[in-house]
Symmetry: C2
């Protein structure tokens, strides 16, 4: 069996933890499996490097930033390889460049284009554990790039896909994917399985376990991901192609996201091409727009509302102001005091009335809905920020997710 294992920064934060990860890797290797490991930078290394850069310049070039930050993972792979060798397994560390992880030219948020597998395969055939630096690749001219947020998860899944691994294990400080955030709802239940699509919705909606990029990639190549804790040997959650849609739970999780801001435009002329003008302008500035809602027309005028992240709000408002004249809307406002709650479930598609159940649960708590969007496997509502916890708890209870025994979610 070929296993790709990924350990995050907190799992390799100090020499003791690195040794613990090494023990875990060597156990797998001594079972006779082929093992590829990818790691992030140790604990706060990346933050420390960013702070050094800030002391040198206010405006670091992204190329040099990638040159700087990629050292964090290089340190981790060297140390982890030493620890693995110390326990008796033959091992080799490889940087992204040495593996041949080729990316596009976008420094600080590069996308993987191709992974050369010859060097890794050669080392695996020699019986070695291969430790690969996460988060990094190279451009065609061999300049170092980094993959941006969720980069190490993406490296792991991309390696698993390129090597046709049997499974990609992502080790985190939580023990799996839960029906909702256990810090908010103590009754949250751990899921034994979840489909790629549900995980994608949950990941995008603010469940911090896996980055959506890595889930998309895993779905595309059909690589199952096992999300589990690095602290003990308990099984976590398998993210995989849904084996049987009919059997899927109606609602498998409740997500919430505080990083949301709402912008409303009033009296937008009801003409073709108006929405295009607005959202092209926003995308030109790389501003993420999530929900978009257009209200019913009155007097040839529309209201258009959309959400963006809190981080992007200032820039989005500047963009809106800049195009107001041209697009010809009367005014705009914004609200940062909001959050988004969502229910996700692959079985929703065959169970009408799920959205109505959601609205009922929220209404029963006296929570006002400011925006609503739906997809085939998700319903999201924007609500007042202060009511988030109450909303999540109510939804979790409504859809009978409290205190489920493992796996029972798929057999209710």
């Amino acid at each position: 069996m070929l296993v790709v294992k990924k350990f995050g920064g907190s799992s390799v934060a100090d020499p003791e933890r690195i040794k613990r990860v090494a023990r875990r890797v060597v156990e797998e290797h001594q079972k006779g499996n082929q093992v590829v490991v990818t790691v992030s930078a140790m604990g706060d290394t990346t933050d420390d490097l960013v702070s050094l850069a800030k002391q040198v310049t206010n405006d670091p070039s992204e190329r040099e930033m990638d040159m700087l930050l990629s050292t964090g993972e290089q340190i981790s792979i060297a140390l982890l390889s030493m620890a693995i060798r110390d326990l008796g397994s033959d091992v080799i560390s490889l940087t992204g460049g040495q593996v041949g992880i080729y990316t596009d030219d976008v420094h600080s948020k590069a996308k993987i284009l191709k992974i050369e597998t010859s060097r890794v395969k050669e080392e695996l055939e020699q019986g070695r554990v291969v430790v690969v630096a996460g988060f990094q690749g190279i451009k065609s001219n061999h300049d170092i790039t980094t993959l941006g947020r969720g980069g190490s998860d993406t490296t792991a899944v991309a390696l698993a896909a390129a090597l046709k691994a049997d499974i990609c294990e992502i080790f985190t400080d939580v023990d799996g994917v839960y029906t909702t955030d256990p810090r908010l709802v103590p009754e949250a239940s751990k899921l034994k399985n979840i489909s790629f699509d549900e995980m994608l919705e949950l990941a995008s909606l603010g469940a911090q376990v896996l980055h959506p990029r890595s889930v998309e990639l895993a779905k595309q190549y059909g690589i199952p991901i096992h999300v589990r804790t690095s602290f003990d040997h308990r099984e976590g959650t398998i993210v995989e192609e849904a084996p049987n849609m009919e059997n899927a739970p109606v609602v498998s999780g409740v997500a919430h996201d505080y990083n949301v801001a709402k912008i409303g435009l009033f009296d937008v002329p009801d003409q073709p091409g108006v929405a295009k003008k607005i959202f092209k302008a926003l995308s030109k500035h790389n501003l993420n727009v999530d929900m978009i809602i257009q209200s019913a027309m009155r007097n040839n005028m529309n209201d258009i509302g959309f959400t963006t992240t809190q981080d992007d709000l200032r820039k989005a408002l500047q963009t809106i102001e800049a195009i107001q004249q041209e697009v010809g809307f009367r005014g705009y406002n914004h609200d940062e005091d909001v959050a988004k709650v969502s229910i996700v479930g692959a079985g929703m598609i065959s169970h009408p009335g799920v959205a109505a159940d959601m609205f009922e649960a929220l209404a029963d708590e006296g929570i006002n809905l400011e925006m609503i969007t739906t997809s085939e496997i998700k319903v999201s509502c924007v609500i007042k920020r202060s009511e988030t916890e109450k909303a999540v708890k109510a939804l979790h209870k409504k859809f009978k997710l409290d205190n489920l025994a493992e796996a029972s979610i798929y057999n209710r």
Copy 2:
């Protein structure tokens, strides 16, 4: 003009110093010169990384150690490039691998075999300052190697040679090469020029300014080295091909070395091949042997004495013990309480009696000579450790090196 500048770890120890180095580099670039900069790791970075490795394993693989340590220089080049760009010069950083600094396969003390110049030249032609990581290269399979002691100086000189630079400037925390260690002899004089050969002898003899490897390389390719301080703009010392041997000073410097231990073998059979057996055994264990002295034969038996470094002493004694039976000498002893003092001067060759002057100066101070060796441009004596300072002062005075005005050493 094409200038290669090298800054050591203490010159880039923190963000403020990095900015100061950047100003210095940008000044040169704005004069219209082409500038290649090579830097070491920041201050204690290398020590910190070594200590991390030691916490993970007692016996780190040298390949992984090189993978680990090479991050130190990578951090420096990224930060220095950011600082240079901040001051308005276009700039690019390159790792040893990105330049194409190819070395042999000996991890932790690799030798440079070849430097590709195309990438560096291309960047220089674009008007960019090129910042290259010192101390590192790659093997033919792209594994990272490090060059060992004096590695960054060697990188700088090798780059200067490959690029046919006009000069290689080595910035240190001293302001040049002195006639002797100014910490020992306050009357020490700074040299304006010194020949490669003299510098080689001084470097090998314990004057810590330049590593002998880099001086050898500079001599081989005829690249003048300017040793100067990074703290101000004063001229330092130019190390170059001696322009006129006739004009060379008889003695240009007095060196001392505390890292010396003496081993004596008694009653070694006077047969062909005996010395070979002894010193082959020592070299097989990579033990550095410096002075070797064989006394006059008596009764078909010789005494053989040699010096090694204090670091190598234990291993050397073990080796000697292991071959005693085979070689057939009666006994051996050792002495760590010694030091070596030397006088160096290219003019010595045409001035007989210099060695006698040296012995006289030491005898006048009542200093006993335990071993003596001579070469064309140097005389070295092993003496009691506690008499080192007295010996150096006496020799410095004897050869009229006290308080010389700059340059006058070449015109006495």
